[in-house]
Protein backbone atom coordinates (compact mmCIF):
# COMPACT_ATOMS: atom_id res chain seq x y z
CA UNK A 1 0.00 0.00 0.00
CA UNK A 2 1.39 3.37 -0.98
CA UNK A 3 1.90 5.81 1.83
CA UNK A 4 1.88 9.51 1.31
CA UNK A 5 2.87 10.57 -2.17
CA UNK A 6 5.95 12.32 -0.88
CA UNK A 7 7.14 9.77 1.65
CA UNK A 8 10.48 9.43 -0.05
CA UNK A 9 11.53 12.84 1.14
CA UNK A 10 12.25 11.72 4.68
CA UNK A 11 15.77 10.58 5.30
CA UNK A 12 15.69 6.87 5.86
CA UNK A 13 14.54 6.39 9.41
CA UNK A 14 17.33 4.69 11.32
CA UNK A 15 17.14 1.49 13.25
CA UNK A 16 16.09 1.78 16.86
CA UNK A 17 19.53 1.52 18.32
CA UNK A 18 21.03 4.37 20.22
CA UNK A 19 23.99 5.80 18.42
CA UNK A 20 25.99 8.12 20.65
CA UNK A 21 27.91 9.45 17.67
CA UNK A 22 24.78 10.70 15.95
CA UNK A 23 25.06 14.50 15.83
CA UNK A 24 21.66 14.75 17.50
CA UNK A 25 22.85 12.68 20.44
CA UNK A 26 26.23 14.39 20.72
CA UNK A 27 24.42 17.73 20.80
CA UNK A 28 21.98 16.52 23.42
CA UNK A 29 24.52 14.97 25.70
CA UNK A 30 26.87 17.92 25.60
CA UNK A 31 24.03 20.34 26.38
CA UNK A 32 22.86 18.20 29.27
CA UNK A 33 26.43 18.16 30.56
CA UNK A 34 26.82 21.93 30.18
CA UNK A 35 23.54 22.65 31.97
CA UNK A 36 24.70 20.42 34.82
CA UNK A 37 27.93 22.38 35.06
CA UNK A 38 25.96 25.64 35.10
CA UNK A 39 23.81 24.34 37.94
CA UNK A 40 26.94 23.44 39.91
CA UNK A 41 28.42 26.89 39.29
CA UNK A 42 25.14 28.41 40.46
CA UNK A 43 25.37 26.77 43.88
CA UNK A 44 29.12 27.25 44.26
CA UNK A 45 28.92 30.86 45.56
CA UNK A 46 26.64 29.86 48.44
CA UNK A 47 28.98 27.07 49.46
CA UNK A 48 32.06 29.30 49.23
CA UNK A 49 30.50 32.23 51.09
CA UNK A 50 29.11 30.01 53.84
CA UNK A 51 32.40 28.17 54.23
CA UNK A 52 34.39 31.36 54.72
CA UNK A 53 31.81 32.99 56.96
CA UNK A 54 31.90 29.91 59.17
CA UNK A 55 35.70 29.58 59.08
CA UNK A 56 36.40 33.25 59.73
CA UNK A 57 33.36 34.11 61.80
CA UNK A 58 32.43 31.18 64.01
CA UNK A 59 35.88 31.05 65.56
CA UNK A 60 35.56 34.68 66.64
CA UNK A 61 32.32 34.15 68.50
CA UNK A 62 32.70 34.06 72.28
CA UNK A 63 30.95 35.57 75.27
CA UNK A 64 33.14 38.66 75.32
CA UNK A 65 32.47 39.43 71.66
CA UNK A 66 28.76 39.03 72.17
CA UNK A 67 28.56 41.22 75.26
CA UNK A 68 31.20 43.94 74.92
CA UNK A 69 31.31 47.29 73.19
CA UNK A 70 33.51 47.72 70.11
CA UNK A 71 36.73 49.67 70.53
CA UNK A 72 37.04 52.70 68.30
CA UNK A 73 39.63 51.85 65.66
CA UNK A 74 42.83 53.82 65.68
CA UNK A 75 45.65 51.47 66.47
CA UNK A 76 46.42 47.79 66.14
CA UNK A 77 44.85 46.33 69.24
CA UNK A 78 44.95 42.65 70.13
CA UNK A 79 41.18 42.81 70.46
CA UNK A 80 38.66 45.25 69.09
CA UNK A 81 36.14 44.55 71.84
CA UNK A 82 32.74 43.13 71.00
CA UNK A 83 29.57 43.59 69.02
CA UNK A 84 27.12 43.61 71.91
CA UNK A 85 25.65 47.03 71.17
CA UNK A 86 25.33 46.20 67.46
CA UNK A 87 23.29 43.08 68.25
CA UNK A 88 20.94 45.14 70.40
CA UNK A 89 20.91 47.87 67.76
CA UNK A 90 19.91 45.50 64.97
CA UNK A 91 17.06 44.21 67.13
CA UNK A 92 15.94 47.74 68.01
CA UNK A 93 16.10 49.14 64.49
CA UNK A 94 14.36 46.14 62.91
CA UNK A 95 11.83 46.30 65.75
CA UNK A 96 11.03 49.92 64.94
CA UNK A 97 10.79 49.06 61.25
CA UNK A 98 8.39 46.20 62.02
CA UNK A 99 6.20 48.38 64.23
CA UNK A 100 5.72 50.71 61.29
CA UNK A 101 5.68 48.32 58.34
CA UNK A 102 3.66 45.39 59.71
CA UNK A 103 0.41 47.26 60.54
CA UNK A 104 0.52 49.33 57.37
CA UNK A 105 1.53 46.38 55.20
CA UNK A 106 -1.03 43.97 56.62
CA UNK A 107 -3.72 46.67 56.47
CA UNK A 108 -2.90 47.45 52.86
CA UNK A 109 -2.88 43.75 52.01
CA UNK A 110 -6.28 43.31 53.67
CA UNK A 111 -7.64 46.14 51.56
CA UNK A 112 -6.31 44.61 48.35
CA UNK A 113 -7.52 41.08 49.05
CA UNK A 114 -10.76 41.68 50.94
CA UNK A 115 -12.16 45.03 49.84
CA UNK A 116 -10.91 45.96 46.41
CA UNK A 117 -12.85 44.79 43.37
CA UNK A 118 -10.01 45.02 40.91
CA UNK A 119 -10.56 48.70 40.20
CA UNK A 120 -7.97 51.25 39.14
CA UNK A 121 -6.97 52.15 42.69
CA UNK A 122 -6.17 48.58 43.73
CA UNK A 123 -4.41 47.88 40.44
CA UNK A 124 -2.30 50.94 41.02
CA UNK A 125 -1.50 49.92 44.61
CA UNK A 126 -0.43 46.43 43.53
CA UNK A 127 1.66 47.94 40.77
CA UNK A 128 3.05 50.53 43.20
CA UNK A 129 4.01 47.84 45.72
CA UNK A 130 5.94 46.02 43.01
CA UNK A 131 7.63 49.22 41.87
CA UNK A 132 8.44 50.17 45.45
CA UNK A 133 10.12 46.82 46.01
CA UNK A 134 12.33 47.61 43.03
CA UNK A 135 13.46 50.99 44.38
CA UNK A 136 17.15 50.72 45.33
CA UNK A 137 17.54 50.59 49.10
CA UNK A 138 20.09 53.39 49.05
CA UNK A 139 17.40 55.71 47.68
CA UNK A 140 15.25 55.03 50.74
CA UNK A 141 18.22 56.04 52.87
CA UNK A 142 18.76 59.21 50.85
CA UNK A 143 15.10 60.21 51.21
CA UNK A 144 14.90 59.59 54.94
CA UNK A 145 18.15 61.50 55.32
CA UNK A 146 16.74 64.54 53.59
CA UNK A 147 13.32 64.39 55.26
CA UNK A 148 14.23 63.43 58.81
CA UNK A 149 17.95 63.56 59.46
CA UNK A 150 19.05 66.79 57.85
CA UNK A 151 15.90 68.67 58.88
CA UNK A 152 16.05 67.44 62.50
CA UNK A 153 12.28 67.22 62.29
CA UNK A 154 11.89 64.67 65.12
CA UNK A 155 12.61 66.45 68.41
CA UNK A 156 15.72 68.00 66.98
CA UNK A 157 17.64 64.75 66.62
CA UNK A 158 19.51 64.04 63.43
CA UNK A 159 21.04 60.56 63.00
CA UNK A 160 18.91 58.17 65.02
CA UNK A 161 17.67 54.63 65.48
CA UNK A 162 14.20 55.95 64.68
CA UNK A 163 15.32 57.36 61.32
CA UNK A 164 17.04 54.04 60.56
CA UNK A 165 13.93 52.10 61.47
CA UNK A 166 11.73 54.28 59.28
CA UNK A 167 13.96 53.84 56.28
CA UNK A 168 14.03 50.04 56.77
CA UNK A 169 10.24 50.06 57.03
CA UNK A 170 10.07 51.46 53.49
CA UNK A 171 11.86 48.33 52.30
CA UNK A 172 9.66 45.97 54.32
CA UNK A 173 6.35 47.56 53.34
CA UNK A 174 5.92 46.23 49.77
CA UNK A 175 6.92 42.68 50.74
CA UNK A 176 4.42 42.60 53.60
CA UNK A 177 1.61 44.01 51.48
CA UNK A 178 2.24 41.43 48.79
CA UNK A 179 2.44 38.44 51.13
CA UNK A 180 -0.71 39.53 52.96
CA UNK A 181 -2.56 40.04 49.69
CA UNK A 182 -1.46 36.67 48.31
CA UNK A 183 -1.95 34.88 51.63
CA UNK A 184 -5.54 36.10 51.90
CA UNK A 185 -6.27 35.19 48.30
CA UNK A 186 -5.40 31.58 49.15
CA UNK A 187 -8.22 31.48 51.68
CA UNK A 188 -11.19 29.73 50.14
CA UNK A 189 -14.08 32.00 49.25
CA UNK A 190 -16.44 29.45 50.78
CA UNK A 191 -15.10 30.40 54.18
CA UNK A 192 -15.87 34.07 53.58
CA UNK A 193 -19.35 33.25 52.30
CA UNK A 194 -19.97 31.05 55.31
CA UNK A 195 -19.07 33.85 57.70
CA UNK A 196 -21.05 36.49 55.84
CA UNK A 197 -23.89 34.01 55.48
CA UNK A 198 -24.40 33.78 59.25
CA UNK A 199 -24.57 37.54 59.37
CA UNK A 200 -21.01 38.37 60.44
CA UNK A 201 -19.86 41.87 59.64
CA UNK A 202 -16.99 42.42 57.24
CA UNK A 203 -14.68 43.36 60.09
CA UNK A 204 -15.53 40.21 62.04
CA UNK A 205 -15.17 38.07 58.91
CA UNK A 206 -11.73 39.45 58.18
CA UNK A 207 -10.39 39.60 61.70
CA UNK A 208 -11.78 36.31 62.98
CA UNK A 209 -12.08 34.11 59.92
CA UNK A 210 -9.85 34.99 56.99
CA UNK A 211 -6.81 36.43 58.79
CA UNK A 212 -6.51 33.41 61.12
CA UNK A 213 -6.94 31.11 58.11
CA UNK A 214 -4.11 32.86 56.29
CA UNK A 215 -1.94 33.27 59.35
CA UNK A 216 0.89 30.94 58.27
CA UNK A 217 1.63 32.44 54.85
CA UNK A 218 1.29 36.00 56.13
CA UNK A 219 3.42 35.26 59.19
CA UNK A 220 6.19 33.60 57.21
CA UNK A 221 6.17 36.46 54.70
CA UNK A 222 6.55 38.99 57.48
CA UNK A 223 9.35 37.04 59.14
CA UNK A 224 11.18 36.78 55.81
CA UNK A 225 10.81 40.52 55.24
CA UNK A 226 12.18 41.10 58.74
CA UNK A 227 15.18 38.84 58.11
CA UNK A 228 15.87 40.67 54.89
CA UNK A 229 15.65 44.06 56.66
CA UNK A 230 17.96 42.94 59.46
CA UNK A 231 20.73 42.45 56.92
CA UNK A 232 20.17 45.71 55.06
CA UNK A 233 22.93 48.26 55.27
CA UNK A 234 22.51 50.91 52.62
CA UNK A 235 19.45 52.63 54.17
CA UNK A 236 21.18 52.77 57.57
CA UNK A 237 24.62 54.23 56.84
CA UNK A 238 23.37 57.80 56.91
CA UNK A 239 20.23 57.41 58.98
CA UNK A 240 21.06 55.23 61.99
CA UNK A 241 24.79 55.85 61.47
CA UNK A 242 26.85 53.97 64.06
CA UNK A 243 27.70 54.19 67.73
CA UNK A 244 30.38 52.86 70.04
CA UNK A 245 28.07 52.99 73.04
CA UNK A 246 25.14 51.11 74.49
CA UNK A 247 21.58 52.12 74.01
CA UNK A 248 21.05 53.13 77.64
CA UNK A 249 17.60 54.72 77.81
CA UNK A 250 14.37 54.82 75.81
CA UNK A 251 15.35 58.27 74.54
CA UNK A 252 18.36 56.53 73.03
CA UNK A 253 16.30 55.75 69.94
CA UNK A 254 16.73 59.40 69.04
CA UNK A 255 20.50 58.89 69.05
CA UNK A 256 22.71 57.20 66.47
CA UNK A 257 22.82 53.46 67.01
CA UNK A 258 25.14 50.61 66.03
CA UNK A 259 23.81 47.75 63.90
CA UNK A 260 25.49 44.52 62.83
CA UNK A 261 25.30 45.35 59.15
CA UNK A 262 26.79 48.83 59.44
CA UNK A 263 29.43 47.42 61.79
CA UNK A 264 30.43 44.92 59.10
CA UNK A 265 30.65 47.69 56.52
CA UNK A 266 32.64 50.07 58.74
CA UNK A 267 35.02 47.47 60.11
CA UNK A 268 35.56 45.59 56.85
CA UNK A 269 37.39 48.53 55.36
CA UNK A 270 39.44 49.34 58.47
CA UNK A 271 43.11 48.50 58.08
CA UNK A 272 43.25 46.75 61.46
CA UNK A 273 42.99 42.99 61.77
CA UNK A 274 41.13 43.04 65.08
CA UNK A 275 38.33 45.12 63.57
CA UNK A 276 38.15 42.89 60.50
CA UNK A 277 37.72 39.90 62.77
CA UNK A 278 34.78 41.57 64.47
CA UNK A 279 33.25 42.14 61.03
CA UNK A 280 33.51 38.40 60.34
CA UNK A 281 31.98 37.59 63.71
CA UNK A 282 29.07 39.92 62.99
CA UNK A 283 28.69 38.35 59.53
CA UNK A 284 28.47 34.91 61.05
CA UNK A 285 25.71 36.01 63.41
CA UNK A 286 23.78 37.76 60.68
CA UNK A 287 24.07 34.88 58.19
CA UNK A 288 23.18 32.30 60.83
CA UNK A 289 20.10 34.34 61.74
CA UNK A 290 18.96 34.98 58.18
CA UNK A 291 19.53 31.41 56.97
CA UNK A 292 17.86 29.79 59.95
CA UNK A 293 14.82 32.04 59.46
CA UNK A 294 14.71 31.07 55.80
CA UNK A 295 15.02 27.35 56.44
CA UNK A 296 12.48 27.53 59.25
CA UNK A 297 9.84 29.30 57.15
CA UNK A 298 10.45 26.84 54.34
CA UNK A 299 9.91 23.94 56.72
CA UNK A 300 6.73 25.51 58.13
CA UNK A 301 5.45 26.23 54.62
CA UNK A 302 6.09 22.65 53.54
CA UNK A 303 4.45 21.23 56.64
CA UNK A 304 1.41 23.41 56.00
CA UNK A 305 0.92 21.81 52.61
CA UNK A 306 0.50 18.26 53.91
Amino acid sequence: MERMSNSGTYKKKGDLYYNSLLSRNLYNNSLTFISGILAIIAILPLILVLTYVVINGASEINLAVLTQLPEPPGEDLPSAGGIGNAIIGTIVVSGIASLIAIPIGVGGGIYLAEYSRGGTFSKFIRFGANVLSGVPSIIAGVCIYSVIVSTRIILGSNFSALAGGISLSILMLPTIIKTTDEGLKLVSDDLRKAALGVGASKFVTVSQITIPAAFTPIGTGIVLALARAAGETAPLIFTALFSFYWLDSPEGILQPIATLSVLIYNFAIEPYKAQNELAWAASFLLVAFVLSINLLTRWIGKRGKH
Binding site: N25, Y27, S35, G36, A39, I41, A42, I43, P45, L46, I47, V49, Y52, V53, P103, G107, G108, I110, Y111, F121, F124, I125, G128, A129, N130, V131, L132, G134, V135, P136, I138, I139, G141, V142, S146, L173, I177, S201, K202, F203, V206, A230, G231, E232, T233, A234, I237, F238, L241, S261, I264, Y265, A268, I269, N276, W280, S283, V290, L291, N294
Partner: protein, 324 residues
Protein backbone atom coordinates in the same frame (compact mmCIF):
# COMPACT_ATOMS: atom_id res chain seq x y z
CA UNK B 1 -46.78 18.44 54.26
CA UNK B 2 -45.98 17.49 57.81
CA UNK B 3 -42.38 18.63 57.47
CA UNK B 4 -43.49 22.14 56.72
CA UNK B 5 -46.07 21.95 59.40
CA UNK B 6 -43.45 21.41 62.09
CA UNK B 7 -41.82 24.66 61.26
CA UNK B 8 -45.03 26.48 61.74
CA UNK B 9 -45.48 25.25 65.28
CA UNK B 10 -41.95 26.31 66.32
CA UNK B 11 -42.03 29.09 68.88
CA UNK B 12 -41.02 32.49 67.62
CA UNK B 13 -37.44 32.80 68.77
CA UNK B 14 -36.25 35.95 67.10
CA UNK B 15 -36.58 37.97 70.25
CA UNK B 16 -33.80 35.85 71.80
CA UNK B 17 -31.35 37.44 69.33
CA UNK B 18 -30.65 40.93 70.41
CA UNK B 19 -28.64 41.87 67.33
CA UNK B 20 -31.13 41.18 64.56
CA UNK B 21 -30.79 44.79 63.53
CA UNK B 22 -27.17 45.84 63.56
CA UNK B 23 -26.31 48.39 66.21
CA UNK B 24 -24.66 51.62 65.05
CA UNK B 25 -21.42 50.69 66.85
CA UNK B 26 -20.93 47.60 64.68
CA UNK B 27 -21.55 49.61 61.55
CA UNK B 28 -19.11 52.23 62.76
CA UNK B 29 -16.41 49.62 63.39
CA UNK B 30 -16.95 48.21 59.92
CA UNK B 31 -16.71 51.59 58.29
CA UNK B 32 -13.68 52.68 60.32
CA UNK B 33 -11.85 49.44 59.57
CA UNK B 34 -12.55 49.85 55.89
CA UNK B 35 -11.25 53.39 55.87
CA UNK B 36 -8.17 52.45 57.90
CA UNK B 37 -7.13 49.67 55.51
CA UNK B 38 -7.79 51.88 52.49
CA UNK B 39 -5.55 54.57 53.88
CA UNK B 40 -2.88 51.98 54.69
CA UNK B 41 -3.00 50.76 51.10
CA UNK B 42 -2.76 54.36 49.99
CA UNK B 43 0.47 54.66 52.00
CA UNK B 44 2.20 52.71 49.24
CA UNK B 45 1.31 55.42 46.77
CA UNK B 46 2.23 58.15 49.26
CA UNK B 47 5.66 56.63 49.92
CA UNK B 48 6.34 56.01 46.24
CA UNK B 49 5.33 59.53 45.18
CA UNK B 50 7.11 60.97 48.21
CA UNK B 51 10.35 59.34 47.12
CA UNK B 52 9.95 60.53 43.54
CA UNK B 53 9.09 64.08 44.56
CA UNK B 54 11.90 64.26 47.14
CA UNK B 55 14.56 63.05 44.79
CA UNK B 56 13.31 65.28 42.01
CA UNK B 57 13.02 68.48 44.06
CA UNK B 58 16.39 67.77 45.66
CA UNK B 59 18.02 67.63 42.26
CA UNK B 60 16.28 70.61 40.64
CA UNK B 61 19.06 73.01 41.60
CA UNK B 62 21.74 70.81 40.10
CA UNK B 63 19.64 70.08 37.02
CA UNK B 64 19.32 73.81 36.40
CA UNK B 65 23.01 74.41 36.87
CA UNK B 66 24.50 71.53 34.90
CA UNK B 67 21.64 70.35 32.69
CA UNK B 68 22.39 67.30 30.58
CA UNK B 69 26.12 68.09 30.77
CA UNK B 70 25.96 66.41 34.19
CA UNK B 71 25.38 63.08 32.48
CA UNK B 72 28.40 63.31 30.18
CA UNK B 73 31.22 64.81 32.23
CA UNK B 74 33.07 63.17 35.06
CA UNK B 75 34.44 66.07 37.10
CA UNK B 76 33.64 65.75 40.76
CA UNK B 77 35.13 68.74 42.47
CA UNK B 78 33.45 69.99 45.67
CA UNK B 79 35.97 72.85 45.88
CA UNK B 80 35.01 74.39 42.54
CA UNK B 81 31.44 73.07 42.69
CA UNK B 82 31.93 71.28 39.42
CA UNK B 83 29.96 68.08 39.13
CA UNK B 84 29.37 65.46 36.48
CA UNK B 85 28.29 61.89 37.04
CA UNK B 86 29.43 60.25 33.82
CA UNK B 87 31.88 57.88 35.53
CA UNK B 88 29.19 56.72 37.96
CA UNK B 89 26.52 56.36 35.26
CA UNK B 90 28.94 54.50 33.02
CA UNK B 91 29.91 52.29 35.96
CA UNK B 92 26.27 51.56 36.76
CA UNK B 93 25.52 50.55 33.20
CA UNK B 94 28.73 48.56 32.68
CA UNK B 95 28.50 46.63 35.94
CA UNK B 96 24.83 45.80 35.49
CA UNK B 97 25.11 44.83 31.80
CA UNK B 98 28.23 42.71 32.20
CA UNK B 99 26.85 40.98 35.27
CA UNK B 100 23.69 40.24 33.30
CA UNK B 101 25.71 38.82 30.41
CA UNK B 102 27.31 36.34 32.79
CA UNK B 103 24.33 35.64 35.02
CA UNK B 104 21.68 35.06 32.32
CA UNK B 105 23.23 31.97 30.68
CA UNK B 106 24.26 30.70 34.10
CA UNK B 107 20.88 31.26 35.71
CA UNK B 108 18.71 30.11 32.81
CA UNK B 109 20.96 27.07 32.24
CA UNK B 110 20.75 26.12 35.90
CA UNK B 111 16.99 26.66 35.83
CA UNK B 112 16.63 24.35 32.85
CA UNK B 113 18.75 21.73 34.58
CA UNK B 114 16.58 21.78 37.69
CA UNK B 115 13.29 21.68 35.78
CA UNK B 116 14.30 18.72 33.60
CA UNK B 117 14.22 15.15 34.80
CA UNK B 118 17.96 14.66 34.41
CA UNK B 119 18.65 13.91 38.05
CA UNK B 120 16.30 12.84 40.88
CA UNK B 121 13.76 15.38 42.13
CA UNK B 122 15.25 15.53 45.62
CA UNK B 123 18.62 16.71 44.36
CA UNK B 124 16.97 19.18 42.01
CA UNK B 125 14.93 20.61 44.88
CA UNK B 126 18.05 20.87 47.01
CA UNK B 127 19.83 22.83 44.28
CA UNK B 128 16.80 25.12 43.95
CA UNK B 129 16.76 25.79 47.69
CA UNK B 130 20.49 26.50 47.75
CA UNK B 131 20.18 29.01 44.94
CA UNK B 132 17.33 30.74 46.77
CA UNK B 133 19.26 30.80 50.06
CA UNK B 134 22.02 32.65 48.24
CA UNK B 135 19.52 35.47 47.76
CA UNK B 136 19.08 35.68 51.53
CA UNK B 137 22.74 36.38 52.30
CA UNK B 138 23.02 40.08 53.20
CA UNK B 139 24.76 42.22 50.64
CA UNK B 140 27.26 43.54 53.17
CA UNK B 141 28.40 39.99 54.00
CA UNK B 142 28.99 39.30 50.31
CA UNK B 143 31.02 42.52 50.21
CA UNK B 144 33.17 41.36 53.11
CA UNK B 145 33.67 38.01 51.42
CA UNK B 146 34.53 39.74 48.16
CA UNK B 147 37.21 41.89 49.82
CA UNK B 148 38.94 39.14 51.77
CA UNK B 149 38.31 35.97 49.76
CA UNK B 150 37.20 36.54 46.18
CA UNK B 151 39.37 39.47 45.16
CA UNK B 152 42.72 38.09 46.48
CA UNK B 153 41.91 34.76 44.78
CA UNK B 154 41.06 36.47 41.49
CA UNK B 155 43.92 38.92 41.33
CA UNK B 156 46.45 36.60 39.64
CA UNK B 157 43.79 35.61 37.10
CA UNK B 158 42.94 39.23 36.40
CA UNK B 159 46.63 40.08 36.05
CA UNK B 160 46.87 37.34 33.46
CA UNK B 161 43.84 38.79 31.70
CA UNK B 162 45.56 42.17 31.57
CA UNK B 163 48.81 40.65 30.37
CA UNK B 164 47.31 38.74 27.45
CA UNK B 165 44.28 40.84 26.56
CA UNK B 166 45.56 44.25 27.64
CA UNK B 167 45.11 45.55 24.09
CA UNK B 168 41.34 45.42 24.60
CA UNK B 169 40.34 48.73 26.24
CA UNK B 170 38.26 46.87 28.85
CA UNK B 171 41.40 45.15 30.18
CA UNK B 172 43.89 47.96 29.64
CA UNK B 173 44.92 48.63 33.25
CA UNK B 174 46.77 46.53 35.76
CA UNK B 175 44.47 45.16 38.47
CA UNK B 176 45.35 46.72 41.82
CA UNK B 177 42.73 45.13 44.04
CA UNK B 178 39.27 46.60 44.17
CA UNK B 179 37.83 47.32 40.76
CA UNK B 180 34.90 47.11 38.38
CA UNK B 181 35.36 43.47 37.37
CA UNK B 182 35.26 42.13 40.96
CA UNK B 183 32.15 44.26 41.43
CA UNK B 184 30.62 42.68 38.32
CA UNK B 185 31.32 39.21 39.68
CA UNK B 186 29.76 39.96 43.04
CA UNK B 187 26.72 41.32 41.21
CA UNK B 188 26.51 38.05 39.27
CA UNK B 189 26.27 36.24 42.60
CA UNK B 190 23.56 38.62 43.79
CA UNK B 191 21.30 38.47 40.72
CA UNK B 192 21.80 34.79 39.93
CA UNK B 193 19.10 33.67 42.41
CA UNK B 194 16.55 36.07 40.89
CA UNK B 195 17.15 34.86 37.36
CA UNK B 196 17.29 31.20 38.35
CA UNK B 197 14.16 31.15 40.46
CA UNK B 198 12.00 33.22 38.12
CA UNK B 199 13.18 31.20 35.11
CA UNK B 200 12.47 28.00 36.99
CA UNK B 201 8.95 29.14 37.87
CA UNK B 202 8.29 30.19 34.28
CA UNK B 203 9.59 26.89 32.90
CA UNK B 204 7.53 24.93 35.40
CA UNK B 205 4.41 26.79 34.30
CA UNK B 206 4.74 25.54 30.74
CA UNK B 207 1.94 22.96 30.41
CA UNK B 208 3.12 19.37 30.55
CA UNK B 209 1.10 18.57 27.43
CA UNK B 210 3.41 20.72 25.30
CA UNK B 211 6.40 18.69 26.42
CA UNK B 212 4.51 15.48 25.64
CA UNK B 213 3.48 16.79 22.24
CA UNK B 214 7.07 17.47 21.37
CA UNK B 215 8.45 14.16 22.64
CA UNK B 216 5.52 12.41 20.97
CA UNK B 217 6.62 13.45 17.49
CA UNK B 218 10.18 12.34 18.14
CA UNK B 219 11.87 15.53 19.30
CA UNK B 220 14.93 15.17 21.50
CA UNK B 221 15.21 16.69 24.95
CA UNK B 222 17.07 19.81 23.88
CA UNK B 223 15.03 20.38 20.74
CA UNK B 224 12.00 20.30 23.03
CA UNK B 225 13.66 22.73 25.43
CA UNK B 226 14.83 25.24 22.86
CA UNK B 227 11.94 25.07 20.40
CA UNK B 228 8.96 24.47 22.68
CA UNK B 229 9.57 24.97 26.40
CA UNK B 230 11.80 28.05 26.45
CA UNK B 231 9.75 29.93 23.81
CA UNK B 232 6.62 29.28 25.88
CA UNK B 233 8.35 30.60 29.02
CA UNK B 234 10.29 33.40 27.43
CA UNK B 235 8.31 36.38 28.62
CA UNK B 236 8.57 35.24 32.24
CA UNK B 237 12.28 34.64 31.86
CA UNK B 238 12.73 38.06 30.26
CA UNK B 239 10.78 39.64 33.12
CA UNK B 240 13.08 37.93 35.61
CA UNK B 241 16.13 39.12 33.72
CA UNK B 242 14.87 42.70 33.81
CA UNK B 243 14.10 42.49 37.52
CA UNK B 244 17.65 41.29 37.98
CA UNK B 245 18.91 44.21 35.89
CA UNK B 246 17.04 46.64 38.12
CA UNK B 247 18.49 44.98 41.17
CA UNK B 248 22.02 45.09 39.74
CA UNK B 249 21.74 48.80 38.97
CA UNK B 250 20.57 49.68 42.45
CA UNK B 251 22.71 47.26 44.43
CA UNK B 252 24.82 49.24 46.85
CA UNK B 253 26.78 47.67 49.67
CA UNK B 254 28.70 44.79 48.11
CA UNK B 255 29.53 46.95 45.11
CA UNK B 256 30.65 49.91 47.22
CA UNK B 257 32.96 47.63 49.19
CA UNK B 258 34.69 46.10 46.18
CA UNK B 259 34.51 48.56 43.27
CA UNK B 260 37.25 50.91 44.49
CA UNK B 261 35.14 54.09 44.46
CA UNK B 262 37.05 56.19 41.98
CA UNK B 263 35.37 58.96 40.06
CA UNK B 264 38.15 59.04 37.46
CA UNK B 265 36.65 57.65 34.29
CA UNK B 266 38.39 54.67 32.78
CA UNK B 267 37.34 52.25 30.06
CA UNK B 268 39.09 49.40 31.79
CA UNK B 269 36.97 47.16 33.97
CA UNK B 270 40.13 46.13 35.84
CA UNK B 271 40.52 49.63 37.28
CA UNK B 272 38.61 51.03 40.26
CA UNK B 273 35.28 52.56 39.29
CA UNK B 274 32.05 53.92 40.64
CA UNK B 275 28.34 53.32 40.37
CA UNK B 276 25.61 55.81 41.25
CA UNK B 277 24.61 53.72 44.24
CA UNK B 278 28.16 53.43 45.56
CA UNK B 279 28.72 57.15 45.03
CA UNK B 280 25.63 57.88 47.14
CA UNK B 281 26.75 55.49 49.85
CA UNK B 282 30.18 57.06 49.94
CA UNK B 283 29.40 60.74 49.81
CA UNK B 284 25.85 61.46 50.85
CA UNK B 285 26.45 61.42 54.60
CA UNK B 286 29.13 64.13 54.43
CA UNK B 287 27.89 66.19 51.51
CA UNK B 288 26.47 69.68 51.69
CA UNK B 289 25.39 72.47 49.37
CA UNK B 290 25.73 71.91 45.67
CA UNK B 291 27.15 68.44 46.26
CA UNK B 292 23.90 67.27 47.89
CA UNK B 293 21.92 68.51 44.94
CA UNK B 294 24.32 66.85 42.52
CA UNK B 295 24.09 63.56 44.43
CA UNK B 296 20.31 63.90 44.31
CA UNK B 297 20.54 64.41 40.56
CA UNK B 298 22.55 61.20 40.32
CA UNK B 299 19.97 59.48 42.56
CA UNK B 300 17.26 60.76 40.22
CA UNK B 301 19.02 59.21 37.24
CA UNK B 302 19.24 55.92 39.15
CA UNK B 303 15.56 56.12 40.06
CA UNK B 304 14.52 56.69 36.46
CA UNK B 305 16.67 53.80 35.23
CA UNK B 306 15.43 51.31 37.82
CA UNK B 307 11.80 52.43 37.52
CA UNK B 308 11.82 52.02 33.76
CA UNK B 309 13.37 48.58 34.00
CA UNK B 310 10.98 47.48 36.74
CA UNK B 311 7.87 48.66 34.97
CA UNK B 312 8.79 46.77 31.80
CA UNK B 313 9.71 43.72 33.89
CA UNK B 314 6.33 43.73 35.60
CA UNK B 315 4.54 44.04 32.32
CA UNK B 316 6.43 41.04 30.95
CA UNK B 317 5.86 38.88 34.03
CA UNK B 318 2.16 39.74 33.93
CA UNK B 319 1.91 38.75 30.28
CA UNK B 320 3.22 35.33 31.20
CA UNK B 321 0.37 34.61 33.57
CA UNK B 322 -2.18 35.53 30.89
CA UNK B 323 -0.82 33.29 28.20
CA UNK B 324 -2.31 29.91 29.03
Amino acid sequence: MSIYGEFLVLPKTTDLYLLRSRPPSEKLIDLTFRNVVISMAAMVAVVLFGILVLVFTGSVESMGRYGLRFLFTSDWNPVNNDYGAFAAIYGTIVTSTFSLLIAVPLGVGAAIFITENIIPTRIREAIGIMVELLAAIPSVVLGLWAIYVMEPFLRPLLSGLHEYLGWIPFFSTKPIGPGTLPAILILVIMILPIITSISRDSLNQVPKKLREASYGIGATRWTTIFKVIVPAAVSGIAGGVLLALGRAMGETMAVTMIIGNSNAFNWSILSPGYTIASMLANQFGEADGAQVSSLMYAAFVLMVLTLAVNVVAQWLVKRLSLKY
